[in-house]
Point group: C2
Chain length 352, copies 2
């Protein structure tokens, strides 16, 4: 029931996803009657679906703490519950991100050894795609959390991009070692000193390195990552706006645009946020994919694609394996500060 | 002597700037003989120039602390010195940003009441242009520094955009009040409570609001601001790359691109980073404009445009006036923590 166009967009997405992934089964949580009506014209999807009635809905502007206290009858809670009970391999929601993360943390709990789960985004680059995390699960990060993000991002890139040994950089405001805040400097030191990491640590990268594709995985705190992601989205929208107005300002421009319409349709597909839709919550005992709230069926289907990939790759197991490689770092830091899992709290970030 | 193509790019920039601002006089600091040679073909510029010999140069990768210790014979130091001695109204450099900020802080000193100077950038938006600060002078900011940035950014927007009462937002990862780190939440509270601010505080904005032009002034810490700015630049470069390859992939696309070339040239101008070139250092007793290091004469001329505007508008005086309006906020906070000007330090940020 999450997102601006639910449940229609979710059903539309599942119709597309069923064709792409014929063996995937769906459990749809929400108002059963309404969902059944929407499923009516889609016989094949209906056969792959189990509908479970959930009468309540988490509002897009509910506070995470509120949602957590009062939300146990909502479709969001129930969807996560089906992952907790191992009925589903992964949950997909286009709803309120903060509430989803709070509920996910509460129900699925952080994996052993992970202080804070993160949200991972796939970012288009000059070289193809890169992974950026955290893009909004946390509002600040200490060195150890950044190291956790590195491990999770590395495991994600290996699974999703099929890379044996992804390259990884820490987002900073300069590539020299003297620059940046204490958290990134310490994290860089820890990563540089560790042997046998399951990725290739390349040191610091800057904001423009993300789109350049300098590394496969860009690690940053949730505040900076979220701002960077949205600043990039805003820039893409601004340029699309420039392009549209440039191509309609003269007769020749219009003809040119018409002749090049094939090229523009390629460009549109490349820039379509629906083609890479979904932030993945990593670091929990179970995977959750957050679709953009404003997306339609096509975008929701992309989120399902990602979810299927996460399930096929058994992400939590892979992360657990990779976590072993940073055990020495953790041991080193544990002497300084006790490592405690973080309980859900109202500070969970990212707008829906 | 700063930047990748100095001193040629500086001279080329001054040639353009002299035509645009015939009454402006230039003091050029650098190797006198080489500069005189480059000035040779430009008689009119030569008449507006005074050349002062400075044999040394701050390297693009010198640490700020090094530059500060050993740099008193460099062209950068001398340029700032001429502002300190009131021989020049403003200094323009395409050199090492960290060194420039460290030297500027040391020579010009922070204005009374300003804890940390900031770097201001002009950002193209759907509505025209907005101001973003800090984009890299600091690596983290407390609430009071964010309030300082707000005052400086407001004064800048009033001067540069000719606005009577600019709108201003604090960059955050959600617009609800519960979101974000303590610094932005406290700064928002302080700004909301203050009466008689010289700008209209609109609360929180998100990364995509920058390009949308939701507010005239976007305030953030130097780490986030720098990453956002570079992430946006990287995205613009990525889309330009997509566009180029889309328009050369088929015969019709090429013809279309040819017919629409007028439109693309408009677009190119809009997207040309040289047309809005220059980060302005604000909060010092004197103004410094930092040009992109990789720019050419046209870009350097834009930095000079900005410098002229800053000088004509007497930015430090305007900021000093506006600072009075936040005196109550400062008083409120001074009871909690003493307010001390910050001395130059090696942590100064932003790559050249």
């Amino acid at each position: 029931m999450g997102g601006d166009f639910a449940p229609q967009s979710v059903i539309d997405g599942c119709v597309i996803a069923r064709v792409r992934h014929p063996n995937v089964k769906f459990i749809l949580h929400g108002p059963a009657q309404r969902i059944m009506e929407l499923l009516q014209p889609h016989g094949e999807l209906r056969a792959s679906c189990e509908v479970r009635d959930a009468s309540d809905v988490v509002g897009m502007h509910d506070k995470p703490s509120q949602a957590l206290r009062r939300g146990r009858t909502t479709s969001m809670w129930r969807a996560l519950e089906s992952v907790r009970h191992h009925e589903a391999d992964v949950a997909v929601s286009a709803g309120n991100t903060g509430a989803l993360m709070a509920m996910a943390k509460f129900q699925l709990r952080p994996m052993e050894g992970i202080v804070r789960p993160a949200i991972v985004a796939i970012w288009p680059t000059m070289r193809g795609q890169s992974v950026v995390l955290d893009v909004g699960a946390n509002i600040g990060s200490d060195p150890l959390q950044l190291v956790d993000f590195a491990v999770m991002g590395g495991a994600f890139a290996r699974a999703v991009f099929g890379l044996n040994r992804p390259t990884l950089g820490l987002l900073n405001i300069g590539t020299e070692e003297i620059k940046g805040n204490e958290a990134v400097k310490t994290a860089a030191k820890l990563l540089k000193e560790s042997r046998a990491l399951p990725f290739d640590f390349k040191g610091f990268v800057e904001g423009d390195d993300i789109s350049a594709g300098t590394v496969d995985v860009v690690v940053t705190d949730g505040f900076t990552g979220n701002v960077a992601l949205k600043a990039a989205e805003g820039t893409a929208r601004l340029i699309a706006h420039y392009l549209r107005s440039a191509l309609t300002r003269s007769f020749f421009a219009k003809i040119g645009a018409f002749l090049a319409r094939g090229a523009f349709s390629v460009l549109r597909t490349k820039m379509d946020p629906r083609s890479v839709n979904g932030g993945v919550f990593l670091g929990l005992n179970g995977v959750v994919v957050k679709s953009h709230g404003g997306t339609d069926g096509l975008g929701f289907a992309s989120a399902v694609d990602l979810a299927v990939e996460m399930a096929r790759n058994e992400m939590p197991r892979r992360i657990a394996e990779d976590l072993k490689t940073i055990a020495p770092i953790i041991a080193q830091l544990q002497t300084q500060k006790p490592r405690q899992p973080v309980l859900p709290e109202p500070g969970v970030a990212l707008a829906p």
